[in-house]
Amino acid sequence: MNESKNAVIDQRVKEDYKYGFVTDIESDTLAPGISEKTIHYISGKKKEPSWLLDWRLKAYRKWLKMKEPNWQNVNYKNIDYQDISYFSAPKKNELKSLDELDPELLKTYNKLGIPLDEQKMMNGIAVDAVFDSVSVATTFREELKSHGVIFCSFSEAAIDYPEIVQKYLGSVIPHTDNYFACLNSAVFTDGSFVFIPKGVKCPMELSTYFRINEAKTGQFERTLIIAEEGSSVSYLEGCTAPMRDENQLHAAVVELVALDSATIKYSTVQNWYPGNPETGEGGIYNFVTKRGLCSGKNSRISWTQVETGSAVTWKYPSCILKGDNSVGEFYSVALTNNLQQADTGTKMIHIGKNTKSTIISKGISAGKGQQTYRGEVKIMKSADNARNFSQCDSILIGDRCGAHTFPYIDVRNQSAIMEHEASTSKIGEDQLFYCNQRGIDTEDAVSMIVNGFCKEVFNELPMEFAMEATKLMEVSLEGSVG
């Protein structure tokens, strides 16, 4: 590829991060540092039951003895855990109705394209908005409640539904799981809680929008979704943050539990600030642990992610297929440009009989972006007739970026059927020329080809968000397609 083409493509991938504004809002922000006192403070602020405080402290003591992992294929500046503030909340946060929401906050969410004003809400999508460490609003609660669906902030759930929370918290991702999950268990602040009772098909899409606003704060949210027998739910999370010079840590934990014949569809559109395009300064460290347990037979958990933001992304949404005939799916699009790095993939652990998993991963690297797909498929002895299909495709835009694939396969039952396909290609000169010859300029051609490449994954997103993802890809690659 010659220099002029590279220049066009460079131009194309130079993103103006349009969510980079800071909201000027009065907030309670805890001084940086972590100790048992910090945890007492957070727990106290949230008026948590004592079992939860104990659970946090146990995690904290464990975390002190753990080492930060370094096996992932990414480089980042050392994190000083004493330099992070572990709690920040807008001051006016005791609301009885959405009308009382701080107008600055409303403005922020409007700017992000997420109206919290119930009348103006997107049709049929309930939203939980998490601003720094707290949930500031949850819409459509009453309507959902009439169907028996609980959708609220994690903090409220800990107080209002302690039995359910206590039963499931840490049941999929124990606090000992890994360094960042353990830290999260100690200091998690807020997140969403969803409970779908037996036989209920959740009548609307649920979504949570995460926003980091305060400087030097970490975001440690915790999401727990439980789908009882025969129920189903589709949930989406979106994330953005202001542009800052220093890196910020986002270490979330998401646990999903699907009982017999339940279905959970979890979609992520992650657009945290990726950092300065030239120097790589700032940007979010997105170190997230996500895991779903298909505990019942015929249950199904499906992860769909579109990862375009963050300076460093390190996450593997996974499924434990314990119930017989259960199904796990992972559909991923990850884009790294400029100096972004991502090490992402999935784990599918087959335990039950006739369990099935599908992995479709699409990686796009541009600029000097570096990307790694890391996936593990494990077929346990008990998993008769398990099946896996994996497809990992990477596309390179320009010639200064990289893509790496590490598939691990561990089969302990001979009846398993495994299929794996992988490809890495440069964005084709022939495809670009074909578009050019039809009058389409190179910028638009790149967007079009990349969106076509991601099609299989975008098709898995809920309709409204598929459009959003397509748009996001275009913005991330700059310019627009009709």
Binding site: E429, Q431, F433, C435, G439, I440, T442, M448, G452
Partner: protein, 246 residues
């Protein structure tokens, strides 16, 4: 319309075209024949401005202006179209979407109102009829899984939608069954008028049964060694190329 003057083209350091001269007037159809590897596609690529096809000497004049420095998409917008010998597959990109983007790029360039999805569908359906293509091809990804003949018809469809003034048909007739050959020829004949020119690259006299070139050129080793009327094609069919080479 198109004037190629003493054109020398190098591909990856290798000299392929060694001084081509062509003069295609508005409304004319020129056919180019020649052995495999003689440089026919190279000529098409050079005229349409493909990367790595560098003009080392000579000039390409289109509508009285040199286009050698123009970007490929600018040449396309100015009215030059190439039906590819090997049309490219673009996975995941819907054929209608692609066509609309192309047509709208051109309409925008011509300061015409761009088509929305609904009005474009109407427009494209009328063109589909002309190439007797089923509308199911519109829903598929660009050329993905298309048979050889289907790809060529899709090229013809794009031509009809984009309405170029100079159309280069690089072996559009290769790999077509008799019915498809008739459809494509009919398409070309209907499309041709006093303002539109064609440069048709072919190996087969059979295409020239259906369309009437004004001039037939023989290209060998990057040079046009003979030009003549339609009968030249017949002669080539009978005798092959060797009698010309000595």
């Amino acid at each position: 319309m198109l004037e190629v003057k003493n054109l020398h083209v190098e591909v990856e350091g290798k000299q392929i075209l060694n001084g081509i001269d062509l003069n295609v007037k508005p409304g004319e159809m020129h056919a180019i024949m020649g052995l495999n590897g003689s440089g026919k596609s190279t000529l098409s690529n050079a005229i349409t401005g493909r990367e790595n096809y560098s003009v080392t000497k000579g000039d390409i004049i289109y509508k009285n202006e040199s286009i050698v420095e123009m970007e490929p998409n600018e040449r396309a917008l100015a009215g030059i179209f190439m039906s590819f010998q090997y049309p490219t597959v673009i996975p995941g990109v819907n054929n209608t979407y692609f066509l609309r983007a192309a047509v709208n790029a051109k309409r925008k360039y011509n300061k015409q109102k761009e088509y929305d999805a609904a009005s474009f569908l109407k427009f494209v359906k009328s063109k589909l009829k002309e190439v007797e293509m089923d509308s199911k091809y519109l829903k598929r990804a660009v050329n993905e899984g298309f048979s050889g003949g289907e790809k060529k018809r899709n090229e013809m469809l794009q031509l009809l939608c984009l309405e170029p003034e100079l159309a280069i048909m690089d072996e559009t007739d290769s790999g077509l069954d008799i019915d498809a050959l008739k459809i494509i020829s009919k398409g070309i004949n209907n499309y041709k008028n006093k303002d539109r020119s064609f440069l048709v690259i072919t190996h087969y006299q059979r295409l020239l049964k259906y369309i009437e070139p004004d001039v037939v050129h023989v290209l060998i080793d990057g040079k046009i060694i003979k030009s003549g009327g339609k009968e030249l094609a017949l002669e080539l069919e009978e005798k092959g190329y060797s009698w010309l080479e000595s």
